[in-house]
Symmetry: C2
Subunit: 349 residues, 2 copies
């Protein structure tokens, strides 16, 4: 898809920065022609890396930053001491209007705190949420919040539903996405007050989404709904539990095929099919924690990903810009406020 | 292991009752010689089934019940209308001292409500919790609460830790189990107040367990700790997410091996190894939701399991009795009360 967007990259954030950031930007450049980049970090190292990718260098500006936000830094420390960090400068670049989106593989808490402070939230949004796509038995869905908000009121959950549905419509191309609230049972009486109040609003409001009702943990990978809405505490636990279970299975499977000469031979025969399976669930395909609800596009890449994974995180940022994700959210939240009586901008709980 | 325990079985609860209940009891009888059974249900049907298993019939009494608790019945309805149900009568049998443990594959909410009402909680226990074992990369761990308590205070979480550790020591034979609190990050500052207060108590109290600290969702299947402690909301979501992810992988793998003649041949060559893998993660091995903290032993079997799975649920009940699980919990909670100042029996939050 052609794009004329400028993406600011925190070139020093992540386990293998800045190498995979530059290589990832190059892969994203090929997939999204027209995209331009602004790399924040050490000019010496970045210019040296860019020599390998002359076409990328032609559409990239390097901007010098002084420090790096460490992975174990607390958000409050990062806010105080990180003004000249590659992460903060990349975010500020969006605020200044030089770039329209930012991608970082650094400290998630610091990135969220800085993005909220520098970019602020979209009009009407109480709190931003972190969203990610994931593979299901039926295809691909999106889940939020994945950890930005430990406690969520009904108003927050409703807004997450609206934002998740806007993401599914714009970036994933689903006309009328189904939305489920993650709970401990599907009956209307299940769960705590806030989640039941959120369900009432979603059931009664004519939003551009299909409210499915409550779903349970197993529905996540079953693909029962296109958009899974959860508070940040259980959403984070669900996501990481799914990742852990997937990696246990991968590990068990690897050990299984090493058990005997026959199973090794079996592996070689089934290899093309097994590679297709690996691609289907490849975590790099789903690499990108979208900060939905901030006034600007901000995407968190996994810290340990490679260039292909990083390119996907950039791809999500480009798609959100191209598809006008934020404009849709503003429109939907305005509508929600008008018809449901939920005051936009009100502080929930 | 030899046992002289009497187990009351809700013979009519579950998708395939009473057939798999009777067949499951027979399998459990072989594994746990000396165990006796009291089957609650339709005498006609049960006596007919028992004819197939004369040795089981010799150690089994059939008791007539009038009704069955339906899977979709609310706990409150079940309490009101279920006095002559197979489930309630099996529970009451433990209360009356005719049996020392009860197993049911019926409605979980009804079973918990009835068990709490009829058996009450162990001295000092605020609220019972549901626990289950599960496979990890390192072996096998136990997790609680899996859904009995939506909101949990610090005192509840601490007691869950004590009960989970007592289970790991007695039934799983782990001398000094490691215990982790399920959270959204491992730093001490993460999570909500209640979980941080629980961590403080567990860190400062010299209990018969090794407090690991906070763990994240991926730690569950990584086997980072022997005992995973969570509130019933996130614990239920984590368990079902793990089950859903496991079943997605199983489904993908099945489809993978059907892709081509080569992958089918590969499957046949690797079959013994793949069967070993399947056994390793076989849900029937882990079938048993133990109601820890009720005054008596009560185990919930999965509604859709088969005879082997049901036999495992009975096995958990027998092991808890043989190993004196409840006596350990009483002792540990008394100790906790004495040294930590947490009043046993106090109503939390």
């Amino acid at each position: 898809m052609s794009s004329a967007h400028v993406i600011a990259l925190d070139a020093m954030g992540g386990d293998r920065a800045p190498d995979i950031v530059v290589a990832g930007a190059n892969a994203a450049r090929i997939r999204h022609p027209g995209t331009r980049f602004r790399l924040f970090g050490s000019p010496e190292r970045l210019k040296k890396l860019l020599r390998r990718f002359p076409r990328l260098a032609a559409v990239t500006e390097v901007v010098a930053s002084d420090t790096v936000i460490e992975p174990d830094m607390k958000p409050s420390q990062a806010l105080r001491r990180g003004r000249r960090s590659s992460m903060r400068m990349a975010i500020d670049d969006v605020k200044a209007g030089n770039a329209s989106g930012v991608v970082s593989a650094g400290n998630t808490g610091a990135l969220m705190a800085m993005a909220k402070l520098a970019l602020r939230t979209l009009p009407g949004i109480h709190r931003p949420a972190i969203a990610s796509t994931f593979p299901t038995q039926r295809g691909e869905s999106v889940m939020l919040d994945l950890g930005a908000n430990i406690d969520c009121g009904a108003e927050n959950l409703v807004q997450f539903a609206v934002m998740g549905a806007a993401f599914a419509r714009s970036v994933q191309g689903i006309r009328r996405p189904t939305v489920g609230l993650l709970n401990v049972g599907s009956e209307e009486s299940k769960g705590h007050d806030e989640i039941r109040r959120a369900a009432d609003v979603l059931r009664d409001t004519d939003l551009p989404l299909e409210f499915y009702g409550f779903i349970e943990g197993n529905d996540i990978t079953e693909g029962t709904v296109d958009v899974v809405v959860a508070d940040g505490f259980s959403g984070n636990i669900a996501l990481k539990t799914a990742e852990g279970t997937a990696s246990m299975y991968t590990g068990f499977l690897r050990a299984t095929f090493r058990r005997s000469v026959f199973s090794k031979l079996g592996y070689w025969l089934a290899k093309p099919a097994l590679i297709a399976l690996r691609n289907r669930v490849d975590p790099r395909r789903y690499n990108g924690g979208m900060f939905l609800g901030v006034n600007g596009v901000a995407v968190k890449s996994h810290g340990g990903t490679d260039a292909m994974g990083y390119a996907n995180a950039i791809g999500f940022a480009v798609d959100m810009l191209t598809q006008g994700f934020n404009e849709r959210v503003i429109r939907d939240v305005e509508f929600l406020e008008r018809v449901s009586g939920i005051p936009a901008g009100a502080v929930a709980r």
